[in-house]
Symmetry: D4
Subunit: 248 residues, 8 copies
């Protein structure tokens, strides 16, 4: 509640247009729905421009369904990430239009027609094995009403593959670059484009890759500028941020 809203409310109290109890209720009203095991954030869309997204890991299928059910009742598009097939089975009981994106491990339910901005998001991967993370990014970007260009397997060990696609990448308004192993691709892309680059390290690799840590550290210490980094395998987070930037 901002200053203007407080002033309006106080004027209405002074002028007798709003009684004390109603005013208290407004000043203290819950901007979230309490489901017992979770508090759904109703004001989130107003506050951050996006509805609540469900992080599936560590929740029970029943909890997922309950949260989806409540969000659907408010007319929201649904995005649940890091979900299991069991969770999808539960969700399907209450929504016949729910879609399970297997590689991306996401559930989406579209409730509103998308209104796309003119610009697009590029999702670029270094290798074929990075595809599941790319899928999570694509699913997220699309349910958030963005157009997406996907460019796969252009890692630095065969760098001419990247150069062939660089004009396509440059057309996007924001670029997500996904890479495992040494995570060098964002550095090269960052030196070639004039758009924000969001780097996503993946856990693809073995040995000294340490489940993605090496790629993560490499991206953080990139010699190129204009790059920022999200958590390992966090395709969702990259796309969520890209969507914010794409709609600025």
């Amino acid at each position: 509640m901002n200053r203007n809203q407080i002033e309006d409310l106080l004027i209405r109290v002074r002028d007798g247009k709003l009684d004390i109890d109603a005013a208290i209720k407004h000043l203290t009203d819950l901007p979230f729905k309490d489901l017992g095991f979770a508090k759904i954030d109703n004001h989130r869309e107003i506050r951050t421009g996006y509805p609540e997204v469900i992080f599936g890991q560590g929740k029970t299928p029943f909890q997922i369904r309950e949260i989806v059910e409540f969000l659907l009742s408010r007319g929201n598009n649904i995005l649940a990430t890091r979900v299991t097939p069991e969770m999808f089975d539960e969700v399907r009981k209450i929504s016949s239009t729910a879609v399970f994106h297997e590689a991306a491990r996401c559930i989406t339910i579209r409730m509103r027609e998308p209104v796309y901005p003119d610009t697009s998001i590029a999702v670029v991967t270094a290798g074929t094995s990075d595809l599941p993370v790319a899928e999570e990014a694509v699913v997220t970007a699309e349910i958030l009403d963005n157009k997406v260009t996907k460019i796969v397997d252009v890692g630095v060990a065969g760098i001419h593959r990247l150069f062939d696609k660089i004009d396509e990448i440059r057309k996007a308004r924001v670029v997500i670059v996904i890479a495992g192993m040494e995570g060098a691709l964002p550095s090269v892309v960052g030196g070639l484009v004039d758009k924000p680059v969001i780097a996503v390290p993946t856990s693809v690799g073995y040995g000294a890759n340490f489940g993605g840590i090496t790629a993560l550290l490499g991206m953080l210490t990139s010699c190129a500028s204009g790059i920022s980094v999200v958590n390992i395998d966090n395709g969702f987070g990259a796309a969520y941020l890209a969507s914010i930037i794409n709609k600025l």
Copy 2:
């Protein structure tokens, strides 16, 4: 050299306005200047929208001066980061308008009048000790022709200080949040704004802070969305990216 420039060049060849030797020279000319110890990237501004920035660490004062001299000869604004007073002494020999930002450890020389976009960048710090990193971000954002709002010491342990400033933060187009210790501030800010948040961990703290690693990891695993992270103490990198976003 982009496609249009190649087309122009070929047309001029066809029309006899450019002879073959000159055309070959243009087509093969080095897009960088070789100083022996460094290769200055002349095409960088065309390619990424920004001129070369000088990373001072590990270079000698003499090398810094040589690079500055060359860049000045091309009319560029100068930004050198991670510099020492000795480096500034060298630079001052060739530029009387060079400015040394002591806390930020930066040198700037402005060669062109700034043209500001309408929107601004917010630079927010958790504590007073994070100020040097904030200064590096502010200096960078300003030399790149951005308006900056600085908000200091609004860390989560006294969270009402943040709430007092949140409307001001929300007015920016992109928000840089700088925090050491546990690095929790970006998570809270990320839940309150609908703009991209660039998180900068600082090495402020001791013990289990591990020189900023704890803040870095905390920001990467933030429970809020819309956040990405740059290297520890990398105020420059955050501001460079923020500038790209601010001018999209």
Copy 3:
């Protein structure tokens, strides 16, 4: 055995009221029961105010049952943590009133009526996925005869949910705050209450969370004061300590 007890004993020896063998036995008597694979600490309750708690991990179901049987024979309440269903099956053979707390992975058997202090313990979680650790804390606090208030899913990314509950949290005498991912919640709570805050990092998260290390380090380097930390996922340890403080 303290100084006064030694003096009493010596006087009784001098006065012939206690013979040498009995005195030796007293001075050397075992304050524990040796089961071969374990030594049950009989004097623990006298020494630390609490009976022995069974740490299930790494023990066999048979060993668990043997220890429970001995403790029951002395009239103790039973708490076994980190247990498996197989362990519970063994325990049920000797106690029909044993309760298996599945989410908390605990077994409890209540042998004495609880005598509650007036004050209570608040158990606060950042997310729904932190619930199993919260359950371990709640089960522990209750079997140790404390009243508990549980507040779930008030993480910092939607911080108004916390503010709605802050008065309820302030009513407790000691506050347990449980959080995974970046573990920022204790810092915010610590800045808002005047009670001891025990922070419990959880292994909820992925990638740079490193199984709870990031939350752990974040809590240790918290910018708020009045916070201390226990091991990752250690709901039991937090509640045990909270119980000591609640009964001071």
Copy 4:
């Protein structure tokens, strides 16, 4: 501002006893003082029971003096931790009663007569080299109006030294145990007392001690219950928490 205060304020607005501007001011008034480089938290004492403490590391001597000056103007006791002699020189310019605790690296200024609770805090160290951290704890506990018992050099390698002092330790209401190297002392103390134990790892040691990490991890994984841990060398944090517990 809590519910009752809001109700009172609204009633006064309705009844014409408070005009709109004053009401807005109350509802939005800053509970902190902005010094430009820092925001002093005026409501902190009301909110958490303790005035602001100054964390010296990373601040300039001038900044320290400015903050001290403001806090003195409000009649607060002063505690500044992690300070340098240069900082003290600045502070002494504005306060002749300022005390510099060299080993503890603290500045204190006492403005109010202490009112001690009956109970006390025990500060126990494993070795002589842990003394500076113990001093920080003692200085903190005393400026926060607590009686302190200090017991030095009772580490586990000569455990009879601990047993000689155990009765003295048991008399305290809360026990701070400070240890470097392997950090085993809190485990032993925790098994011998029925009071909360706050463990402080120190950076004393070399090699595989890793600047205190080993002691920190050892304390977190202690086999004893009733123990919680603060950051490496954080004598202040331990004493602050102990003071809260001592005054419950």
Copy 5:
């Protein structure tokens, strides 16, 4: 082959008592048996006082059997560590007297009557969960012809249990102390005995125990003297070394 043996051989060559081919054979003879996938070290017992021990991990059951078969053919006692039941099934095919120690994950076959030294080895554990590692140590020490005293569950959180057993521990010639969690027991034992203490960290614990690293580091940085450390869970290595010391 030492200097004296070389001299003898040369004299016999000079004196015509040994022909050149035989001399070459002696000087180059293989002191191991090559099984293709492994080279059995025949001279090991001469060189180090002990026959080859089989490290089962990473070998196939067939390989284990082949190695056992060869060693049996030379009349050696057999000890195979880190074995699986499948390996034992293979070994039983060629030896009816093979024994499978399930908790210790060892196979032993005794081929020679033991000749015990007068002195003994004490194997001490902090908790019940450390028993499997203790069993590996006991099995190893016994097949190497040592008498063993086993003392279980005397961890530092109930330190009177240790004091009750300390005289028994002091009777041994060398003491193996096995502990997980914070690994504090060797420090306490090291301060109480005048014998070599071999510390074995175990992977018992969770969270900040990091699979035994915390116990390992704690033991390495022990404040007590006279302690050395072997690898995590390495009951075999501790007993092997203890046996060498016991027979000095």
Copy 6:
């Protein structure tokens, strides 16, 4: 496409042997084949001397088959590493001569008769448990047309086994040394040969071995010269590099 090829092409255009359209096609033709999920690098053999190798991990069996099928169509030898039996089942559908190397987890298909250089590669392992990594190296070296000498189980704890084989090792042109645990073998070999030594750490071991990190670090800090290191368990990478050196 290299300079000579461009010159040839231009001469053919000049001489009328190649029409303009075909020349444009050649000059702009993609040097890779896009399969949608992967881009096969056709020019790789020209550029680096070796055809594309398939890294199986993280790919689906279907993807593996598609890539194999395309590479076969161009007459290449096939090497796929880190494959599963399921992947081999797919590949066998399109190639009856495909071979599955179980221990090495590789698939090979030979399409061209090998032409061996005179010199050979030595593959040396410290223990029997390192054999799977050695097999990956042997399979790789052989499909790349090299002769290989394999020497097994000559680790440093029985160093005479190594000395017996050292002349055989010295005959190779390049030496691959594979070791787990402390990874000391390359240091000893490096001090005994005058050939390049490629060290491969393996994940064989437990506890403080940390899945091969200890061997990796040991090899990197070797006190011997002439050694370089590849990733943990990377038998393929070592053999690939050895093959390049063997054919220089």
Copy 7:
């Protein structure tokens, strides 16, 4: 105080030969001297066979002198490790026979004529740079009345240097092996001798040596048996343990 001593004391109380106060004093008498900042362990020699050793790091020169003075008053040999020249200056004020071992950073004062056992300790180093740690070991072993053989610079990269000295090493009763970098020497020595090997990692090296961690981990995971490890650079600890073993 053991059982027999208690029995004697009780009999004397019963028989009136010892009055109550004296008996209490005996039962509670301090077995240490409290210097305020340190508690000197008087019973240590009785309990562990060795007098107190002074660990200099983190103590003040004044504290060192006070402790030395007290220990001298009891006729003990003095060993202080990790000392500075300033500490020695203080000690020389009270003892003209104090010796400062510069490379070893030790002070020794000999008060009793040494009685050497027949057997000796071998101190072996991999390189010249490991000498300071070796000196600490030698000084410690000698003040504890052991004969020492020192063998320097026999690292594994030139392994024939070791073989030349191996007979000399084998003559010792216990072998200390000191190595930095990859720390491979103990593995080789352990495979060649039938005596206990105490491995000391040193911080000699750079980069991936990580201040001795790599050598430490390598020694812990050694493929040879009969090896145990002490802390990085802990020449004192190795020699103290070696002395215990040498005198068994």
Copy 8:
């Protein structure tokens, strides 16, 4: 000493051409010179093709001089790495032709005229700050009689600089690639050349670079083949290995 040499020697003994004492001397002769603090490896050049190189770190200037003096007496070229100016001052006392390479921190003395192979070594750096490591590599390669091509500042953030130099790089027989920060350059080079690539991580960078660890790990997990890695900042080791390969 190999088999043939042994046979020759034995025949000469049998035939009375060599007496027993001389034969023993030959069979046991020291292939190194013992300077007390170091053992100079005389046979090293025969065994590995290269004379002893002096690793300066951790040695005293006097020790350096002694070793240099001995090596000079045998007519060797001298290379000392990681030296200080103080060490050079000592060396200059005995050799007027000694050269101090300041950036490289090396001393060289050339005693023999170089005989260069036809092929050369390329030394490539990502940035200007990597120059000191490159200098160490160049100095090493040249004293070992190799021709060197140095290419500086071609890091991946401005990748056209690399492409401009790639033909020059391809002309070398072996390529050393030196990079700090994320260490991506070797991956790109490895995909463009058909020669062995030796990657050298440098400690250039800050924050998440961790003193070169990030670059090291990135190189180890490179997605390109044909790459191996040496220790952080180890320009010497890379050049030594490159020299071996260059002369195969």
